[in-house]
């Protein structure tokens, strides 16, 4: 991680151009300032970096592999598809990269309790894991709807000693879990760190989470260069809040020849209104402490989102993505539930890898990009997580349960 490169944006007040910033209750301002200072001091401290790097190498399993997906690539216009295997990390997704950093920071700040929001449960599981490792008390807020569709992850978090609180307000999904975590934090900020799981929230979170996740792209860039001798033609990732995508993109942003593609959850189709494609179908506003694109009605009320993927089911997006979108550096498109599930099945059958449904949106996007760029293209796809947690949804969708027909096809 080169800090200088990571630091060109945001500015000192956390703005990526007009996006980001800090729209937070006054009660949290002192804690956000403290966090910013602690983070900067920690990252400048070789001992902190060494401990984080050691954990990433010996606990999380980094560097993660870059796997060539030849049979899948044949379906993607013959393009050379390289999967960045974040699914092979401990806990099964990229979330551990960020959580280890924030958990070490929590201990460094002298705080003893860590809280988190989670959608699919991947961030919650990662947080519960790091809390167990470092002996921190852990509470995870999860929308009630998500506790049902991601029941396996609820059990994992509880096994790891975390308290899982089902959130029953609003749409009972990820955004409501965020609200509840903020409410907890305002009351407990003295001894508690809110470990935000994506590149969202008030400054310094979008910057800090990005810095912890950019190792994905840093490694991928080295691995591709070693393999092919040149940077890839495109980097592809799914975008909910957008942490795996920023992690995958960031090291490639200066490589002008590398196209960056983010694929958002198109649900039943953007035109249906039932989706979570914030950059494709949203407008500018303020949510969860940041100025960014979001899905809102004409009164500024947050719209309910729809996606087969609990992890992408979020009405906002990290402010740096809004910046990359408006500046034209990255391209964002929507992938429907059906396209994502087709790609999910395709990767299973062609490569023997079961992806998370979130990551399946990136795979569907890779099929699109590969067919456009053709057989000479090299495309890095961030396989952000594994799909064990999604077997219940997939079994229903494809009719794999005895005596039941397919629900999705």
């Amino acid at each position: 991680m080169t800090i200088d490169a990571a630091r060109s944006l945001p500015d000192l007040t956390g703005h990526f151009g007009p996006f980001g910033g800090r729209f937070a209750p006054e009660a949290l301002m002192a804690a956000l300032d403290e966090l910013t200072t602690s983070y900067e001091t920690a990252m400048a401290d070789p001992a902190f970096r060494a401990e984080l790097d050691h954990l990433l190498a010996t606990y999380a399993g980094r560097p993660s592999l870059l796997t060539e997906a030849k049979r899948f690539g044949a379906e993607a216009g013959g393009a050379r598809i390289l999967l960045k295997r974040e699914d092979l990390n401990h806990t099964g997704s990229h979330k551990i990269n960020n959580v280890l950093g924030q958990a070490l920071l929590t201990r460094r700040m002298g705080k003893t309790r860590i809280i988190a929001e989670t959608g699919a449960g991947q961030h919650g599981v990662a947080t519960a894991t790091a809390a167990a490792l470092l002996g921190l008390e852990c509470v995870v807020y999860m929308g009630e709807v998500d506790t049902v569709r991601q029941a396996l992850n609820v059990a994992r978090m509880r096994m790891l000693g975390a308290e899982v609180v089902p959130v029953t307000t609003g749409s009972r999904t990820l955004k409501d879990a965020c609200n509840e975590a903020f409410r907890d934090w305002v009351a407990t900020v003295d001894d508690t760190h809110y470990c935000i799981g994506s590149v969202m929230g008030p400054h310094p979170f979008p910057m800090m989470v990005r810095d912890f996740q950019r190792i994905i792209g840093v490694e991928a860039r080295e691995q591709v260069l070693e393999l092919t001798g040149r940077p890839p033609d495109a980097v592809v990732a799914c975008v909910g809040g957008g942490s795996n995508a920023i992690g995958a993109f960031h090291a490639f942003v200066p490589d002008e020849g590398v196209r960056l593609y983010g694929f958002e959850a198109g649900g039943s189709g953007v035109e249906s209104g039932k989706h979570a494609a914030t950059l494709v179908g949203g407008s500018l506003g303020v949510i969860h402490g940041m100025r960014t694109y979001l899905l809102q009605d004409e009164d500024g009320q947050t719209l309910e989102t729809h996606s087969v993927s609990a992890g992408l089911d979020y009405p906002g997006v990290g402010p740096e993505h809004s910046w990359l979108h408006d500046s034209g550096r990255a391209t964002y498109e929507a992938v429907t539930d059906a396209e994502a599930m087709d790609a999910f099945a395709l990767l299973c059958r062609t490569e023997g890898i079961i992806p998370a449904i979130e990551s399946a949106h990136a795979l569907a996007g890779a099929l699109r990009v590969g067919r456009e760029l053709g057989p000479d293209a090299t495309i890095v796809v961030c396989l952000s997580g594994r799909g064990d947690k999604d077997m219940h949804t997939a079994a229903e969708w494809f009719g794999l349960v005895e005596g039941e027909g397919p629900a999705g096809a």
Binding site: F23, P25, G170, R183, V186, A187, D190, Q296, Q301
Partner: protein, 285 residues
């Protein structure tokens, strides 16, 4: 505050009072007591119900009314206000209805503010929102998730339409921040009595009086702003305690609780009237 009570008010039509909430605090102070500030979201329990409840609160002794703008993601609010706001939104309340509510309540002569999360204002257009709030007779805004750092458009709009702007201070605010925030406040300063979300509490946080004291010290203007204390206050006893050290006592969830628990709107209004009287007696103890 100092600039408004000075040269600016001289330019107004003779006899027309400056429409700042500060005058309500001044009047209470002249009576040797703290002001009672009551909060209710627009559209709860219905459009008419909210207007009637707010008028009831005024009749029974509230000096200032805060009309909440119902928002889908009220992350500073506890379960009581969340329930009320959810009910208001489910009932179809719109931003235009909030202005109509302000208009109806302000018509009673009571100083009326809107309390809102920032996104609805941002979406409406900050200048347009200020214009329409002013037209409706509102005094200004309380902004729980907008701090001075991001407030530039609102500072400009509130100046243009001569509106109060009430930022919050918290137990965790440094002296430096208290100075910065209070310098930009107009009308009054909203001191959050505890670290947490809205909702009734059994006791007033022991740090609250200290925060009010620190806030007053941070103000450098010749005539400093009144400091109102909110979050957690729910009965006459607590109101009396807070009135002992703050210029205003702010109550919200306790009113909503009365309306939520009542078997009918009339019963709810009776309960709201009794609570207001109890609190009004409290600030006079």
């Amino acid at each position: 505050m100092s600039e408004r009570s000075g040269s600016e008010s001289m330019e107004r039509t003779e006899g027309a009072p400056a429409r700042t909430v500060a005058t309500a605090f001044e009047q209470a102070k002249a009576e040797g007591r703290a002001a009672l500030v009551g909060y209710l979201p627009a559209g709860f329990p219905s459009f008419e119900g909210a207007v009637t409840a707010a008028k009831t609160m005024v009749e029974a002794g509230c000096d200032v009314i805060e009309i909440g703008l119902p928002y889908t993601d009220p992350l500073m609010d506890g379960p009581t206000i969340q329930d009320a706001v959810h009910q208001a939104l489910t009932g179809g309340i719109r931003v235009a209805d909030v202005f109509r509510t302000v208009e109806a309540v302000a018509a009673t002569g009571v100083r009326t503010l809107v309390m809102t999360y920032w996104n609805p204002v941002d979406r409406y257009g900050v200048d347009a929102f200020a214009r329409d709030l002013s037209s409706a007779g509102g005094c200004g805004l309380i902004t729980p998730d907008l701090t001075p750092e991001e407030a530039e458009p609102w500072l400009a709009a509130s100046d243009a339409y001569d509106l109060d702007r009430v930022f919050l201070v918290a137990l965790s605010s440094t002296d430096e921040r208290l100075a910065k925030i209070t310098a930009l406040c107009r009308g009054f300063v909203y001191a959050a009595s505890l670290m947490g979300v809205t909702g009734a509490r059994s006791a007033v946080d022991t740090g609250a009086a200290h925060l009010v004291e620190r806030t007053r010290k941070a103000m450098t203007q010749p005539s400093s702003l009144p400091v109102g204390l909110g979050l957690g206050v729910s009965n006459g006893e607590q109101a009396a305690e807070v009135a002992g050290f703050a210029d205003g006592v702010i109550v919200g969830s306790a009113f909503i609780r009365r309306l939520l628990d009542a078997p009918s709107l009339d019963a709810g209004l009776d309960a709201v009237r009794r609570l207001t009287a109890e609190l009004a007696a409290g600030v006079r103890r």
